[in-house]
């Protein structure tokens, strides 16, 4: 069964208005929708990230669910402990790690990999704004090729890590990519993950208007275009079987790049090169979709 807007509106969320998030923040948008699907029986673990700031200063919090703030590399390890503590108490709760791309792809990868290998019963969510945004836009392992950040002033020269595939290689039950531009797809992936057991991983493409220098009102548009231009393919890997969940609407990559100043100044050859890389990835996914098991 797929979720509709009416199902989502009925559920109470765990996000309260008036947080410290920037206007047009993709992370709060993702959290709003995800928390409605996950329900009140959920505990969040947040490593250092934008989301530690979004919660707002002590003694108030914009998140109405139990939430545990922890050091950068320890999110998945903490969540494993939280889940086991609740299990000892005889309570069945969703333990969700809500981490940024720095806390997942770079600093938290060791704990994440360990928890995935042990098959801990947690949902790990990475909201990916493709750089260290809350410290001031430094490059991360998830920053795309040729993107401007403060530490890559002429554009990043390395490829980003393909984190969903790295986690999928641990042979975990569920891995999915999502985008804040496709909220129903995102909600349904959380619904599916919630009903499963074992280590589940969801990687959300989350727009950051201040970091990407995109217009504040275009948060949804940018995330939508990322999918429609094949830049961020939406797929899920359920028990090893890959399925592409949203067919892109075949828009030229230029439309997506033009909306963000972080890709400003790319020459036509560079855009062509990016397009080639993006299409290579897409064709690879199409190829994987046909196979019985990805890993």
């Amino acid at each position: 069964m797929t979720l509709t807007i009416h199902d989502l509106r009925k559920e109470p969320g765990s996000y309260l208005p008036g947080s410290a998030a920037c206007p047009g923040c993709g992370a709060t948008l993702a959290f709003r929708i995800a928390s409605r699907v996950l329900g009140p029986n959920t505990v969040y673990v947040v490593p250092a990230s934008c989301f530690s700031v979004i919660q707002s200063p002590f003694p108030k919090s914009a998140i109405s669910a139990p939430l545990y703030n922890i050091a950068f590399p320890a999110a998945a390890a903490t969540a494993s402990g939280v889940y086991r503590a609740y299990k000892m108490l005889g309570r069945d709760v969703n333990v969700v790690v809500w981490a940024g791309d720095g806390g997942t792809v770079d600093i938290g990868i060791q704990a994440l990999s360990g928890a995935a290998e042990r098959g801990e019963d947690i949902i790990y969510v990475c909201y990916d704004n493709e750089a260290y945004m809350n410290t001031g836009i430094q490059r991360s392992g998830a920053t795309p090729l040729m993107a401007w950040t403060k530490t890559t002033p002429t554009g990043k020269r390395e490829m980003p890590k393909d984190m969903p595939m790295i986690v999928a290689a641990h042979r975990v039950p569920y891995v999915a990519t999502a985008s804040v531009g496709y909220p129903f797809d995102l909600a349904n992936k959380f619904e599916k993950a919630k009903k499963m057991k074992g280590f589940r991983y969801i990687h959300i493409f989350s727009t950051c208007p201040p970091g990407w220098n995109s217009p504040v009102s275009k948060t949804a548009e940018v995330a939508k275009l990322a999918v429609d231009t094949y830049f961020w393919p939406l797929y899920e890997i359920e028990n090893g079987k890959l399925r592409i969940t949203v067919k892109p609407r075949k828009r030229p990559l230029k439309e997506f790049l033009e909306l963000q100043d972080r890709f400003r100044g790319l020459s036509d050859e560079q855009i062509e090169e990016l397009e080639k890389i993006v299409m290579e990835k897409w064709n690879f996914l199409l190829h994987l979709e046909k196979s019985e098991r990805v890993f």
């Binding site: 309260l16 208005p17 929708i33 919660q55 707002s56 919090s61 949804a220």
Partner: protein
């Protein structure tokens, strides 16, 4: 073993407006045109700040105390029923 030091447990309590009245950040105010609105609730779905609720007349109502005026609602509205209007001084 009284040390005379007050002990503060670092637990934040959930509350609306945890970062103050964020409506003050707003430069442009979204206004819903109820004649054009078809109640698809896409504005509600995409609002990053969760400030859109159902008003007494069944149309979207925006909480201007906390709306940061990002304009995502106006951008996603399929009938262009939400206009962004400059805030007066």
């Amino acid at each position: 073993m009284g040390l005379g030091v007050p002990i503060i447990i670092p637990v934040s309590k959930p509350s609306k407006g945890a970062a103050g009245k964020t409506g003050l950040w707003r430069v442009e105010r979204p206004v819903v045109d109820e004649d054009k609105c078809i109640k698809c609730w896409l504005c509600w779905l995409y609002c990053p700040e969760d400030v859109i609720t159902e008003g007494p007349n069944g149309f979207p109502q925006i909480d201007y105390t906390f709306c940061k005026g990002c304009g995502v609602c106006a951008d996603v509205c399929p009938t262009k029923a939400i206009q962004m209007i400059k805030e007066e001084e």
